[in-house]
Amino acid sequence: MADVAEAKKYLGQPVERVEDEILLMGKAQYSDHLPTRAGTQHAAILRSPHAHAKIISIDTSCAEKIPGVVAVMTGEDVKEMSEAFLIVLRQPINQWALAVEKVRYVGEPVAMVVARDRYIAEDAMAEIDVVYETLKPIIDQEEAISDDAPVVHEAVGSNVVSTRDFTYGDPDGAFAEADKVVKMKVRYPRNSQTPLEGFVVTADYHEGENLYDVASNYQGPFTSHPVMSMALRVKNSQLRMRTPQWSGGGFGVKVQIFPYVVLICLASKKTGKPVKWVEDKLEHLSAAAAAPNRLIEMEAAVKNDGTVTGFRFDQQDDYGAFLRAPMPGPLYRTHGILTGAYDIKNLAVTNRVVMTNKCPSAMVRGFGGPQMYYAIERIMQKVAIELDMDPLDVIRKNLVPVGVFPYRAAAGALIDSGDYPAAIEQAVNEGALEELKKRRDEKRAAGKKYGIGYAAIVEPAQSNMGYLSNILPLDERQRNPKGGAVANATVNVDPLGTVSVTADSIPQGQGHMTILSQIVADVLGLTPDHIKVNLDFDTAKDAWSIATGNYSSRFSSATTVACMQAAEKVKAKLARIASQTLNVPAEDLEFAEGKIRDPANPENGINFYRAAGAAHWTPGNLPDEMEPCVRETGSWSPPELESPNDKDQINTSLTYGFVFDFCGVEIDEDTGEVKIDKYVTMHDSGTILNPLIAEGQVHGAFAWAVGCALYEEFVYGDDGSFLTGTFADYLVPTSWEVPEPQIVHMESPSMVTPLGAKGIAEGNCMSTPVCLANAVADALDVEDITLPMTPTRISAMIHGEEKPPANNKPAAVTPVKGEGNVLRGTGETFVPAAPQEVWNTLLDPEALAAVIPGCHKLDLVGENSYEADVSLGVGPVRGRFKANVGLSEMVEPEKATLSGGLIGPLGASQGSGHVSLSAADRGTTVTYDYAIELTGTVASVGGRLLEGAAKALVNQFFQRLGAQVGGGPVSEGTSWWRNLLRSLGLAK
């Protein structure tokens, strides 16, 4: 045992992170800080304001004339210079880096400006004139499958682009023999963990070599490297991808940078200059990535004692407008473990891939697990309710039993280790479940709405790269079988005995440098601070494979093993060198305290650096046939990750951890707020490599899961407008909303990975949303729960749908189409001039132009009809708009009706309103109402920012109007004119 303890001096310990010092000093260089060569140009991307439209024309001439602009590119340029991206399915779903002929979601890249700096590029972007012919969009995934729905990709002919049925065991028999069939229909929303740092790409095309040199915060998987090189029409080796040491969070999202890598490469080739692009948050939220929303109709075959004998899943994933590799991964990467933590032999599955006019779906932490477990654990609760059993007893009844590992699940997962019943008992005891039940009783007795939820899940980690093969029929996938998952790491010892490590894990903040230094220090008998780990990455120099990257928690089970193997090779080599001088067989030598020595006689040893130095300084003296220098690479792929078999079974991941959560929530009956009173999360993630880092991963996954359960959702209007384009609208939990969960650990080492470690970073993304949903269902005694469980939704469940406030009702405003983000308002203000003066000003184009904030030009184009060119800014959105406004029902100088619309690169609006003027003491009282529908980018700036901007604009307008007509200052007014005025203003 002493030997083992010595061998694992650092691994398993809560070693503080080697990453932290430079990060805390603010001196880490993230992608935006990487050096660029002189003459680097900057790109800005014009995006579609429409969910579905034909591009009739794009006029870039004005943009090109702006000093500092070097190029403007459109989809036609991109189509000429590159191929459409390769996709998993054999379907004519062609996507280029810029939209070609049609736009299919709000935020889709339409054109790109390359200019001396980003500010100029954005100026020029506003001058691009795109004419669209809008088409009816399809947004709702259930409507998308109907025959008369608008089709996103005409060449496919349907929005359902893939349907696959799977059967395992005898589901029909199980359902025929069931005492009860429990059915449920659930939905999981669109969301994303939205890293704080957005995408950054710098591309430099080297003409003489036909080589693209790219620095970006791409996180892999490098399966998409060939997708990029093929799009660029070059060999893999002609696309050099470099990633920096530091990244501002990834969460899976940063694989989706790849279309932009291609776009910026093309920009560099076209301009002959290096080009850099930095994504902003509005671009990120609207167009970067979203976990697919999923609709699941599910059935469980149940015996009266609570035994579940079969599951039927009908899963329909909404992938948005395009399938970007590796989509439709979320439907398939958890396929082998579709029976979750349960011993269920009979399973029927239908998987459908559906397209809609929304942002293309993507890899996001959890990758299909949150959706799948939401269905499984909701129905397990319903089974308990229908049988009048305790939900935890139903979970216990169906768990994969103890002592059967490795256990082959129905759909093919080979669950490596665990003891689920013991883990649950430990969590119940350490988490004091009985006390929580008492607390629920007390709360309920006091009239409170309090509930308890449970969730038991299996956390898959390290994806089998063959998992997507299962979407293809057997004969097709047998022609080109895929499986496995390679990891690479290299350990280098230089002439002075300093150790450095590189690896292909592309970390996004998890602490990989620390853990690799722990591993190598243990193997070589050094201290972690002696090991310099460099995880910046370069496809031209580093060992890599298609599985390279940071996703599916592959680090702890895979990269660590490759690194250990490399370190073991170094150890073996240095032991042979030392053996020559120590006269002890190499295999008997120990590495400890910076020495290589005879454990029986520790005095007989040499310093580590001496042995390493010999391989550099005196290679002639090395043992026979030994190569000089000390640089060893470990490459590892587990044999358990095979291609799917002829029964469609596949071991989709290498390791399977166990997570069991329970929680208590209290619901504020007045506000509908869900308060997490207590949360316990049990993890069996195999061997823990660094407890400090492991707990940090649990806390991070938990926090995002709280967001998914309670706040986070990408919301679209029926017209496809994207309504959550800022962090004021896409709400992210802060320190105030995330409680500290109680973490309980048990360790059942995995037998399929040498270090015994499984994944731990995604479990709570899968268990926590459904655990909280189950608790809310328990508190409210309801079945139909929709995530996120916002106060509005919870209140509606308690009190019924809320009616709009009476005073905010637009009185007689002509109804707008009312499908996007609709701003309505009424108000009253005072202008210190007579009604006739105000009237005259409002009807005089020149005077009005001077009054409207941001108005560049205002022309009378017909009787009482105006065209204007206006700059407008709301929150992060600023742009130029063309407006058309007409006045009607005019009664001089008393009232008028305005209607019209505006359009610009950032969106469009249609609206109408009424103004009336009445004489008041020394001035005019102006009353108004309006209703304006916003679409496009502007609509994604939600209510709070729009209203704030509205107030500011109204105030500005009245001050200027006052100055124009009366010369004096103007009273504040209750504001709110402004959108009228905006419409008027904008337009007029």
């Binding site: 503080e16 805390l24 000093m25 603010g26 704080l196 969070g249 940090g696 800022t726 995330v738």
Partner: protein, 164 residues
């Protein structure tokens, strides 16, 4: 208030972490862009660019400011402090920074410098906050990695045991 030509680049001189620095900025250039791309520091991280996430937080004349909601020309003549200034001249982490390291208060580190700057100002006003007060203050920042647990523990530990 001086009138600036919107199309011209203006000289901006400020005292950054004790040193006088000068760069050039059009009036519309954000302080965050100026510090990063004109001066060349690496701690003023741009997260949301609409004032919500707090990653670009710096101190301007001792006041907590969002770099993305401040124009560079507004900082003319000011004293600006950033996270680069927190460790000692010899490169030793401050006690607050050490506490973040000890309690795993950061992962990717993108939000961290901004949080440290807010804390620097806040803990001067309230040297021993309760956990509730601290969480309230930290809610002005977004962190997507940590769930805030480590940083809350770090600050409470630091406030309890600080010797600086």
């Amino acid at each position: 208030m001086p009138q600036l030509n919107k199309d011209a680049r203006h000289s901006v001189t400020l005292t950054l972490n004790g040193d006088e620095v000068t760069g050039y900025a059009e009036p519309r250039m954000l302080l965050s862009d100026f510090l990063t791309h004109e001066i060349g520091i690496t701690s003023c991280h741009v997260g949301c660019e609409h004032g919500v996430c707090g990653a670009c937080t710096v101190l301007v004349d001792g006041t907590v400011m969002r770099g993305c909601l401040t124009l560079a020309v507004q900082a003319e003549g000011s004293t600006v402090e950033t996270a680069e200034n927190l460790a000692s001249d010899e490169g030793e982490l401050s006690e607050l920074q050490q506490a973040f390291k000890k309690h795993h208060g950061l992962q990717c580190g993108y939000c961290t410098p901004g949080i440290l700057m807010s804390l620097t100002a806040y803990l001067k006003e309230n040297p021993k906050p309760t956990e509730e007060e601290l969480r309230d203050m930290l809610s002005g920042h977004l962190c997507r990695c940590t769930g805030y647990v480590g940083m809350v523990k770090a600050v409470l530990d630091y406030c309890e045991n600080r010797t600086d």
